[in-house]
């Protein structure tokens, strides 16, 4: 792999390079391990007119909408702080008309990515939704939100959704190598499909590991290096959401966000303090420790619970045995070459 270039860069560089005004941006993680450091960077760079894809939006979608980055949202689930009496940035933006949202079910949203990831133009989805307003009420996708076709084999009515291939995915994982091989474990959600359906992939990770570590555990590799455009090592990069094996949900920060997001002014103040006034994740952590002490964050650190190693061993690792004989033909290299020469198989 010595010829392959390292893709390591900073969050600032990666977002500057790959996320543009008007881009379609997909938030790759599903509820856990949200790429919060990258989300905050998009907000700080004030990207405009984004179409955001989100399987289930909580603090990530709220921050991007509150920062005024999003025109259109494709999702299945949005957050609401403080129950019925509370609210959300999404709700306020829908009410003032600055945001349009297209609602799908969890499966249908995911199916659009699965179609996109495999190169298909559409995909059948579970048809029960035909009887609901998810099917009947449409916003910016209009006729193309769903189309109904007839199965050419059974004649059955089939509900379909179009493939999605977002311009860029931001996704957080546990570990990656500098080439972009990204390993993720825990609740798999729709993370692979979200990333692999996208044209560009920006990966942030808790730690960068050697290529050999990746090669000894390929079952954990979610994204292959050749699909990934940028790798950024960001410890605590998903906090306040959790990353299994690294840290739990930061309930303290999450409560502050949750109490703020119901009110535009409170949300702005929270964003000023934790998003806009911290230039990167390191600054965020420093500010956090300064304000609440290091014990608060430390309390969320995961205690190790290791997966049993999978044995990738084999009987031998060379076609030549311990005595230098080829395992099937039984000859040494010297005998082999002599044989080839005698048979006239070698060209001088």
């Amino acid at each position: 792999m010595s010829e392959v270039k390292s893709k390591i860069m900073t969050a600032n560089e990666a977002i500057r390079k790959f996320v543009h005004d008007g881009s379609s941006l997909i938030l790759g993680n599903y509820t856990v391990a949200a790429a919060m450091a990258l989300v905050y960077e998009v907000a700080r760079q004030q990207k405009k007119n984004l179409t955001v894809y989100s399987q289930s939006g909580v603090i990530d979608v709220e921050v991007l909408v509150a920062a005024g980055c999003v025109d259109r949202l494709v999702s299945t689930y949005v957050y609401r702080g403080g129950g019925r009496s509370g609210g959300s940035a999404v709700e306020r933006a829908l009410q003032t008309g600055t945001l349009q949202m297209e609602d799908y079910t969890n499966f249908q949203y995911n199916a659009r990515l699965v179609a996109g990831m495999h190169g298909f133009t559409f995909i059948p989805v579970l048809e029960g939704v035909i009887d609901t307003d998810l099917f009947r009420k449409r916003t910016f996708m209009g006729e193309d939100k769903y189309r109904v076709i007839k199965c050419p084999y059974t004649g059955k009515e089939i509900l379909t959704v179009p493939a999605a291939n977002p311009d860029v995915c931001i996704v957080h994982v546990q570990r990656a190598d500098k080439y972009g091989n990204a390993q993720y474990w825990g609740a798999l959600g729709s993370v692979a499909a979200a990333a692999l359906s996208s044209k560009r992939i920006i990966v942030s990770c808790e730690e960068i590991v050697e290529y050999d570590v990746i090669k000894s555990s390929p079952h954990l590799t979610l994204l292959p290096s050749y699909r990934v455009d940028a790798v950024i090592e960001i410890p605590w990069g998903a906090s306040p959401t959790e990353v299994i094996g690294y840290y739990n949900l930061d309930r303290f920060m999450f409560s502050m966000f949750s109490m703020a997001c119901g009110d535009a002014k409170a949300m702005q103040a929270w964003m000023d303090e934790w998003v806009f006034n911290c230039k990167d994740r390191e600054a965020y952590i420093n500010h956090y420790v300064e304000k609440f002490g290091s014990g608060t964050l430390d309390g969320f650190r995961a205690k190790a619970f290791y997966s049993a190693p999978a044995n990738y061993g084999a009987a031998f690792t060379s076609i030549w045995d311990g005595e230098g004989r080829e395992r099937n033909m039984g000859v040494t290299m010297e005998e082999f070459e002599k044989f080839l020469k005698e048979k006239g198989a070698l060209y001088e």
């Binding site: 008309g97 029960g128 009420k137 798999l188």
Partner: protein
Amino acid sequence: MSKAYTLEELLVITVAKEIRDYENVILGIGLPVAAGALAKAIYAPHATLMMESGIIDFEPLLPLNHIADANALRGFAYATDLFSAFTMAYRGFVDVCFLGVGQIDKYGNLNTTVIGDYYKPTMRLPGSGGAADFISYSKRTVLTMLGGEFVKKLDYVTSPGYLAGGNSREKTGRYPKGSGPSMLLTTKGVFRFDPDTKELYLAQIHPKVRIEDIKKNVPWDLKISPDLTETAHPTEEEINFVRKFAPAQAAGRKLMTELVIANISKKMQQKTAG
């Protein structure tokens, strides 16, 4: 006199009894997770608990924060993805799922998307998530409504119940035979669906609740089962399990919040003093 319990504990225990042994169960956050843990511990030790995030076959050690919270488990047997969790339901491998309710109509159709006009919402609720797909294809669906409301007409139809009642769900040919909501739990009682009309009726009433208290929140002439029963007093074992596993759930949102706020201000005071 057996041990005293909270209303929230009673709700968890009531709904946990809907899970039978050896069933495949899709849970949701909050009350269903506590019910799943209780069922697994007491009534249905061989049930397979599942979350649509792809965490399958687990025993929760503490309440999950959300649908993808593997931090609350000590490993799990099958790590699949969201896509496969739903096609599993589509293929008929999910016996029972649990859904929360914002608005419900007479025939168990649900709204969890919006209050008011969809295009200019008075209140934006979370949305479908997995609800519409699971209620379509799970063999049974258990509904829980804690803050929601009964309405004549939903502001938005998120998830299909029995549509216009009678055989209208079955007639579409889109759903497995016998699927649809099987019960609705509220803070006041348990409702089930008439096998012919598919209209929901009151089947069971919680202690200290009067039928009038229920009727006044239902905007149609609610039918009451002739065999109406009162929700039974839970056993000490049930109460102890729920209180220990999910103390915040046992206390209910209001009392839990009161304790959390008191705890935070105590910590803040200690910090300034120290």
